[in-house]
Amino acid sequence: MSDLELVQQTLKDQQAFYWIMKRYETRLMHFIKRISNVDYHTAEDILQEVYIKIFKNLNGFDQKMKFSSWIYRIAHNETISHYRKMKARAETVSLENDDAKGLIAILSDSFDFKAELNSKLVAEKVQKIIYSMPQKYNEVLILRYMEEKDYDEIADILKKPSGTVATLINRAKEYFKNAAKKQNLTNLM
């Protein structure tokens, strides 16, 4: 069953919403933790708010965009809103080592990392860089390289023109590279 069919079904019978939630639960939990760096329980609370908001606004879903982009947009906005309320981010890291390694691998064509080297240490440094980046940069990197969204999807999620998204990704990569050099990540190459 497609997302759209599930949405139509939910509007007739709310039980069908369970399958929408189940389909996106893991992905959205990861996304919330990645962009906010909150702990698991807080991420669960945010996700609950996100799902309730999605449920309430199902009739407002614009079918010109992908349903996944729409729910990622709501998750993004809700998480940022929660984050702003909490003011500061916790120091604990929630990027998994695999996340960091994935990011390195993707950026490595321009950065020339050897991904197999001391991955834990590299991962920690990458996490530190990601969370020290301005929000506008880290969210595009997370969406592009961890959530594997294309430019149009990122544009729909962040409500920015595609051209702006492309520029932000390039600047974020540049920022990442410079920060990586300062973290002596080049020594690991």
Binding site: T10, I52, N59
Partner: protein
């Protein structure tokens, strides 16, 4: 094992949460589009007023008071309307950005489209002669409006320097007419040598501005008579100045006109 999705669904059921009705979203989206269109229209209105005021400037007179073009340009800018137009353009941009697909377009493109829209609407309003009644209404109802506009009345109310403005009261003997000055004072104006410029036609009730010489106590010999606002057609003069005569035939109206 905990099933988060089931817990959320239970919460939804327990708290009787329902999807908001579709009409609410339709209304919300329509309202944003309507506000965008409304702001473009108002921007057009402001733009038409800018054209109206800039076109109304008597360059030959203003150049006498200013030493260079920049100084003159700054003295004739209708700041009130320029500020208003910028506000409406920004509001149009803001509303468009909040439409469903508004975020897909860059700031420059949206602003450019809003400006072009306002420009077209402005030209339309200007050419249907809506600006003079608008101007009169705004002058009457907007506090401090005159302070935000070029000091036209001050410039044209200096009889000692050869500038006089007021409203024609009536014609006396084919050579003079009575004029009520801006301060309510009565002037006798000799117009035998005067050129009637910019569509000015002598009819009682018409507000005029004049160049000439003050040659006696409340007596002025005009060399140049212009309507207070530049008018494009005789028809406009008649409609604007003597509304009571609207039912008359053109030939009857024209028999009252001087020269």
């Amino acid at each position: 094992m905990k099933d988060l999705s089931q817990e959320i669904l239970d919460t939804i059921k327990k708290e009787h949460i329902k999807p908001l009705p579709k009409w609410r979203f339709v209304l919300q989206k329509s309202f944003i589009w309507a506000m965008f269109v409304f702001c473009v229209l108002l921007g057009g209105l402001a733009f038409s007023s800018i054209i109206f005021h800039v076109n109304d400037v008597d360059l030959d007179v203003y150049s006498k008071f200013n030493s260079n073009f920049m100084e003159m340009a700054l003295s004739v800018i209708p700041y009130f309307w320029v500020v208003l137009m910028c506000l409406f353009l920004f509001a149009a941009y803001y509303n468009f950005k909040h439409t469903d697909g508004g975020y897909k377009y860059g700031t420059t493109l949206i602003l450019l489209a809003s400006i072009v829209g306002s420009l077209l609407v402005g030209l339309l309003i200007y050419y249907v002669d809506f600006n003079e009644p608008l101007e009169e209404n705004v002058m009457e109802h907007v506090p401090f409006y005159n302070m935000m506009m070029p000091p036209k009345a001050v410039i044209w109310n200096r009889p000692e320097m050869g500038f006089l403005t007021g409203t024609i009261k009536d014609f006396k003997n084919g050579q003079e007419f009575d004029l009520i000055g801006v301060a309510g004072d009565l002037w006798i104006v000799n117009y035998t040598e005067a050129k009637w410029q910019n569509g000015a036609i002598g009819i009682p009730g018409m507000r005029v501005k004049m160049l000439g010489v003050k040659d006696g106590e409340n007596h002025f010999t005009a060399s140049d008579i212009r309507p207070w606002f530049k008018l494009r057609t005789v028809q406009t003069v008649i409609q604007m100045q003597i509304p009571g005569n609207r039912g008359q035939k053109n030939s009857e109206r024209n028999s009252q006109l001087v020269p």
